[in-house]
């Protein structure tokens, strides 16, 4: 368990004000917020890498506020991987064991387990300079977990990665969290990361906590304007995956590929949702008949809300399109979006 009580940090460029947090043991907790909100500062303050002005930090029942980072029982993984460039992958992974008294067999066991789980076997004798982003991040994760920390701190581990690697590392994080039973605290500015990985989260803005709670709660019931804007994701629905289809209520949405999980979320950007009066004659694979539920003037374009069997979809249209289609409340229309426009998480 980890507890932060009224923590205040005052650095030249960044500050944290009166932060209180409680994360239970083995939880996957996410710190969200825009760039410069102080997420990384909070992470580094928990790690003891930057000094705090007042407040207490308790990790696993120990007050670590005055302890140096090496005595806190934490590991940290950075966005830019921060692998030691003069050491091989294997030496990087084993680095932390120099400072921990661990039985030889136990060392071997952890090493084998991490190398298998993160699929690093073929990379062990290479230097970090020759690896791809996804590989680097897998090595960084193995290096952080081999010391079996009380808490693993992750500073935007996904944001420097290409979409393909992102998915891979996200899956790896999910698996590692399940198997190692370590508390994960992850910083992200991406809400979909939080939804797919974490149980609870908090939103930080300008050095203060705006809201703490279940991820779904923050998403559905933001308590402040800032949080509402921050999580404001349109056309986002919880779904059940069936083969390549995502099912919501009575709707079956073709996503174009199969998914390992049963439950998840899909989202479609409003500009990818096309409206027409009649059924489309195109290659778009998702078409639904619905009814206009509302039109909001957004200046350069209009935000049109369409109800499809009680699911609300939002589409953006230009003023001329609005007139051409004769869009007003209550009019029946068809909407369509490509399978490739669907964001699954």
């Amino acid at each position: 368990m980890i507890k932060v009580e009224r923590l205040t940090v005052d650095l030249e460029e960044f500050h944290l004000c009166d932060i209180s947090l409680s994360v239970s043991g083995g939880e996957f907790f996410v710190l969200m917020g825009p760039t410069g909100a102080g997420k990384t500062v909070l992470l580094e303050a928990i790690a003891g890498l930057i000094p705090s002005k007042s407040g207490r930090i308790i990790i696993g029942g120990r007050d670590v506020t005055r302890l140096p980072p090496e005595k806190r029982g934490i590991s940290i993984v950075y966005q830019d991987y921060a692998l030691f460039p003069h050491l091989t992958v294997l030496e990087n992974i084993l680095y932390g064991l120099h400072f921990h008294r661990v039985e030889k067999e136990e060392k071997q066991l952890r090493r084998r387990e991490l190398v298998t789980q993160l699929n690093l076997g073929h990379l062990l004798h290479r230097f970090p300079g020759t690896l791809s982003g996804g590989e680097l991040q897998r090595v960084a994760l193995a290096r952080a977990l081999i010391v079996r920390p009380e808490v693993l701190l992750l500073d935007e581990p996904l944001s420097a990665l290409d979409p393909a690697f992102r998915e891979e590392i996200r899956d790896a994080l999910r698996r590692l969290h399940e198997r190692w039973g370590v508390t994960f605290i992850m910083v992200t500015h991406d809400f979909s990361d939080a939804l797919s990985l974490a149980q609870r989260a908090c939103v930080i803005n300008d050095g203060r906590i705006e809201q703490t709670g279940d991820v779904a709660d923050i998403f559905q019931r933001p308590t402040s304007r800032f949080v509402a804007d921050f999580v404001g994701m349109k056309n986002c629905h919880p779904v059940v995956f069936r083969k390549t289809k995502a099912v919501i209520g009575g709707l079956e949405i073709e996503t174009g590929r199969e998914h390992e999980r049963v439950h998840g979320y899909i989202a479609v950007r409003p500009e990818d949702v096309v409206i027409s009066k009649n059924r489309f004659d195109s290659s778009m694979r998702n078409e639904f008949e619905g009814r206009i539920a509302g039109v909001v003037d957004r200046g350069f374009f209009y935000e049109v809300e369409i109800l499809v069997s009680n699911m609300a979809f939002v589409s953006l249209v230009t003023k001329s399109a609005l007139f051409d289609l004769g869009i007003t409340e209550g009019v029946p229309v068809w909407i369509a979006f490509k399978a490739t426009a669907i964001h699954v998480f």
Binding site: P68, P69, E70, Y78, A82, H98, F99
Partner: protein
């Protein structure tokens, strides 16, 4: 296109002038002495002793700079404080002070009418006219080069790597020796070589503090004064030759390390 080509040729021409300016005197120096004369000079025990003393004292200066300059270089690379610029200027002072003045300054501290000089005298340490004195002077003029290079080396190591090492259980000490120092190693070595090079070439400050025992530059000066150009050239040849070989070897070592790392 044509103007660009002209521009290129002008650049190339001035580069060639500079290369000639540097190389001509050195080539002339190296080719002027006849072989029998060179042979005779290298058999001269006095010459050998002075060249050895030059390299030995410069090596000591580089070693002292390494041992005492490394912590300062690390501190300067990793901390920010008010007056840091002032400290950096102080470190650069030995570079800008005229060389004989350095010698005079050191003697005025190490002399009998200063308390440090008295303590040294009581301890039996002699600065004036001794190897200790030469090493002191050479360290004084060489250490800024070492500290500046090492500082740049430490600055180039990302702080994050140290943070990760600390979080994995490494103390500040083990983090320094396992991460920071190995990664800055090449800059440290280059700094030591520059310090060594600077120390070998020092004349003005040494001649004030210790005319004897004679280091090579002083001997070359003495031969020039007493017997003229022709007699100073062979000694100069051997000093330059040995130094070139030494620096080439060290340079190759750093290149090798670069590839290895």
């Amino acid at each position: 296109m044509k103007t660009r080509e002209l521009f290129f040729w002008v650049m190339l021409a001035s580069a060639a002038v500079i290369m000639a300016f540097i190389l001509l005197p050195i080539v002339q120096l190296l080719t002027a002495p006849s072989l029998p004369m060179l042979n005779e000079t290298i058999r001269d025990r006095e010459v050998l002793r002075s060249i050895w003393l030059s390299i030995y004292t410069a090596g000591c200066a580089a070693l002292i700079s390494f041992v005492f300059g490394t912590p300062l270089a690390y501190l300067l690379a990793r901390t920010r404080f008010r007056g840091k610029g002032l400290i950096e200027s102080v470190i650069d002072l030995p570079i800008v002070i005229p060389h004989p003045v350095v010698g005079i300054a050191i003697l005025s501290v190490a002399g009998r009418n200063h308390w440090i000089g008295e303590i040294l005298a009581a301890l039996g340490v002699r600065i004036m006219g001794s190897v200790t004195g030469i090493v002191t002077v050479l360290t004084f003029v060489g250490i800024p080069f070492y500290i500046n290079a090492a500082k740049e080396g430490f600055e180039s190591v990302p702080v994050r790597l140290e943070k990760v090492s600390r979080s994995l259980g490494g103390s500040m000490l083990s983090t320094f020796f396992r991460i920071t120092f190995p990664l800055a190693g090449r800059s440290v070595l280059v700094g030591a070589i520059m310090c060594l090079a600077r120390a070998v070439s020092e004349f003005g400050a040494v001649v004030i503090v210790a005319y004897h025992p004679m280091i090579a530059p002083v001997m070359i000066y003495e031969r020039f004064e007493a017997y003229g150009l022709k007699y100073s050239q062979p000694v100069a040849f051997w000093l330059v030759f040995i130094c070139l070989v030494l620096f080439l070897a060290l340079r190759l070592l750093t290149l090798y390390r670069k590839k290895g790392g």
